[in-house]
Point group: C2
Chain length 510, copies 2
């Protein structure tokens, strides 16, 4: 039996688009002599569609489309869909769609689906939706009871650093230990910053991977698990995975929301340099505009580095000085601020003028504003609300600053895109004379360690004992929650991201 | 047996503060001769504390404080706390804290607690945590099995229009039908815009309410359910409830986050007028500053109305014209925008300049910026991101514009605070010559009906069939989700609020 693994990129809520994609891949599978085509979890409604799964009209549209697919598909297929209030695996074979398995649910998914342990078998295979190791083991045992020698595991797992290796090894181990063929079919593509990473594969009962799909790209691969061959699986360095996730996260957000032009502030620092290069890699340099917005505190070096970056990458760079606008604000506020000394207010004003200029460019030319705040800044609240944090997509919001340099180095090793001068320079916001990030924050490697402790403390796994410095940083992080609540979406990179933590804004826990 | 109902206002996460509050009310209950004091759901950790309930150190602090309370409380008490992974009712009587009941859970709470049907009885009473009508009926039956003649129902229910009457009638009905005394102890106070409404009460087995606590205020009342007396319960018009919720929602957000000064833009329109009056009622006029920020499109009438409003209410009004700043932006963008015609970009610039001025005032004087967008605008996206939507608290974000006038009329009937001229005027954003809201939107009563249909469609209860106009508005609402994601917190007023709906930003469902 030749099984086609259709690793497709769907759009949340766009049932017609997803259905066409399924038909296209099914046709291609048939052409290639497959007996069955398998699609990822929720491929018909699209994954991570939030409360759309609660709308009766939406669910009904899904079921209607399933019935159409049942008539139109030219090859038997297994696919993920919402079905009768469940996150279901559906079997289609020129008849009524037939539910084969329902997902075992956790946490927030229970808002959408009932959860149920249905699992049936047909033609020697059984199905489930990936829901963690414990549930997988149960599904394997159930498959054995059903005399199935192959388990199809549908998934739509989002990327975080380490997940690809973890999942592949876990599943291969199960295949070997329980002597069952497992086909893991993962979705690919990004939805509001969650990047399904692809990497589908077929592993036989000896634990050998026989087929392996691309990471972060659509793919159609075939598995015939009677062969017992072994394929070397694609090894990719962590930096490549992270970079690919960042590019796909941004690209899918833009594509699926209809943006074709992109703009960002270029400061001469490493964050905006990386964001610009990611945008170039995603859309081509001709669609990216950088804006350099110098103030009286902007150094010559920043100007040179910004210019060099854009020249190296063929990115258009506009130069819009903010001094006159800054003066007009100070003048308008002169009476109101009389007798009160200069403070962070004036720093924020500069940052917000830049945010406004970018938003104005965005409004005028329908360009997506990319913000370049990194995870370390956003955690500590070292950013200006409506200023540098303003925009449509926060490209690297989950990237720790201490790892950012490693990632830039890796990208430069492929082709030199970020000037060394930018990477060698000490981080500064340049919002006052001789300002350095280290005036306000610990060194970034120390800070990032503490931020990890903070986010880990919500995993319910560890109990954290804190030093005085850590307590102070924890407090700083908690106090910045109101800023994080107002951030644009961005790409998830870490297992414990701020996007996954629901911290109260009003928070009396010190 | 005399039972004290302690309707207290706690702070999420501030265990020490909440514990002091519990001790204070317990002491007062004892002084008044009570035999038992009952406190609301989660009164020790504070309600709606989000992912804090996942932190082991937090849960441990809670249990440690429970042990201290067990030693220190001078009267037997029943209170809500997190306990052994559960949202629990705890009995304390000079001994170890003893769990009496665990909450039956739905939806997002399952992220935090296990859920369990423990329910025990002691001294003729039994306990549960309010979790809906069906679960209440089960608890009543269980109480009967335990030979308890009184059921203590702990709650921390947030306000929405209609909930007070619904809940009171439902519970009184159950008391009568099952012939059991019920004491409903609700929390009071706001947490990140969820306003627990108080209104605790004791209803005897004849269905007579014997004691009734204040709405939207802390209270300590006593019930002796052997008396079989009937008390007339406080009737309050819907407008008073809504207004009280708005005042408490804002006040608690400010108090619990340490704000003492308040600022908002005064446009001369009804939204900012109402927001200003709510702020005055919450904090006193001397703590509220209004800023009038005229442009070339601002009419004389707006200026007059803004002035009159602030004069009537003794609110300080600053006048900061934005024309020069607007010119400085246009001049900075002159080259970039050369040959492209004026459009919404310039409207947004004006709105954002105002947002920036308010934020600058906020930064300089540590004043909370109150934004005055109403639900209708926010639903339709008829607001400028980082402009009129910028700020620390969105005072009336869940108030439909068509109801806003009714509410203003009610407030004026108490004392005249909003000039008639403001209420009589047709709504306009004044961002271009002769602009009217009705240029872009249907009449507000029509729009609000469609918005209700939209939010109802996620309740999973109704199936919506749409007209062409409705489809268009639904699309408009879906497209504005990216703006709503970046809004500040605000007070929930409706059963189906946007804050309760998790709409995807990338949304292919048309």
């Amino acid at each position: 039996m030749k099984i086609a693994i259709a690793q497709i990129n769907t759009i949340a809520g766009n049932i017609k688009y997803n259905s066409s994609k399924i038909k296209e891949y099914a046709a291609s599978a048939k052409e290639n002599g497959a007996d069955l085509a398998v699609f990822p979890e929720l491929s018909l409604p699209g994954g991570f569609a939030g409360d759309l799964y609660l709308r009766k009209d939406f669910l009904k549209s899904c079921e209607q489309e399933l019935n159409l697919l049942a008539k139109e598909l030219e090859i038997p297929a297994v696919l993920g869909s919402s079905y009768m209030g469940e996150n279901a695996v559906i079997y289609i074979d020129k008849k009524q769609p037939e539910p084969m398995s329902f997902k075992t649910l956790f946490g927030r998914e229970k808002k959408y689906f009932n959860g149920n342990d249905l699992q049936t078998g047909i033609n020697g295979f059984s199905c489930c939706i990936y829901s963690g190791a414990k549930e997988l083991e149960q599904s394997i045992k159930k498959a054995a009871e059903l005399a199935a020698d192959t388990l199809l595991v549908l998934a739509n797992e989002p990327f975080y650093i380490g997940v690809i290796e973890e999942l592949t090894e876990e599943i291969a181990e199960y295949a070997k230990n329980f002597s069952i063929n497992i086909i893991f079919v993962n979705g690919v593509g990004a939805q509001d910053g969650l990047v399904s990473f692809g990497s589908s594969f077929a592993v036989n009962k000896s634990g050998f991977v026989e087929a392996y799909a691309k990471q972060f790209k659509e793919d159609l691969i075939f598995a015939d698990l009677t062969l017992n061959t072994k394929m070397q699986r694609e090894e990719s360095p962590k930096e490549k995975q992270v970079y690919d996730a960042l590019v796909l996260g941004l690209k899918d957000y833009a594509d699926k929301n209809g943006f074709k032009k992109f703009v960002l502030g270029i400061s001469g620092g490493a964050d905006s340099a990386l964001a610009a290069v990611i945008a170039k890699d995603a859309f081509g340099a001709s669609n990216v505009t950088g804006i350099f917005m110098p103030s009286e505190f902007t150094s010559r070096r920043s100007r040179d580095d910004a210019g060099l970056l854009c020249k190296m990458n063929n990115i258009r760079l506009l130069d819009i000085p903010i001094n006159n606008i800054f003066k007009s604000f100070k003048s308008a506020l002169l009476n109101t601020f009389k007798g009160v000394k200069t403070d962070v207010t004036e720093e924020n004003l500069q940052s917000r003028i830049r945010g406004m200029l970018l938003m104005a460019y965005s409004n005028k030319f329908n360009a997506l504003v990319m913000t370049a705040g990194n995870r370390s800044e956003i955690a500590a609240g070292y950013c200006t609300l409506y200023g540098d944090s303003a925009g449509g997509y926060a490209v690297i919001c989950d990237l720790p600053k201490s790892y950012l340099y490693t990632l830039c180095g890796w990208r430069n090793s492929i082709s030199e895109v970020i000037p060394e001068s930018i990477l060698e320079r000490e981080p500064t916001a340049e919002l006052r004379e001789n300002q350095k990030d280290s005036d306000s924050l610990p060194e970034y490697d120390v800070l990032d360690g503490i931020i990890d402790n903070f986010t880990d403390s919500f995993s319910g796994e560890t109990e954290v004992v804190l030093s005085e410095q850590e307590k102070q940083i924890f407090k700083m992080i908690s106090s910045a929650e109101y800023k994080r609540r107002q951030l644009p979406l961005g790409t998830k990179l870490l297992k414990h991201s701020f996007r996954d933590i629901r911290l109260p804004v009003t928070n009396g826990y010190k």
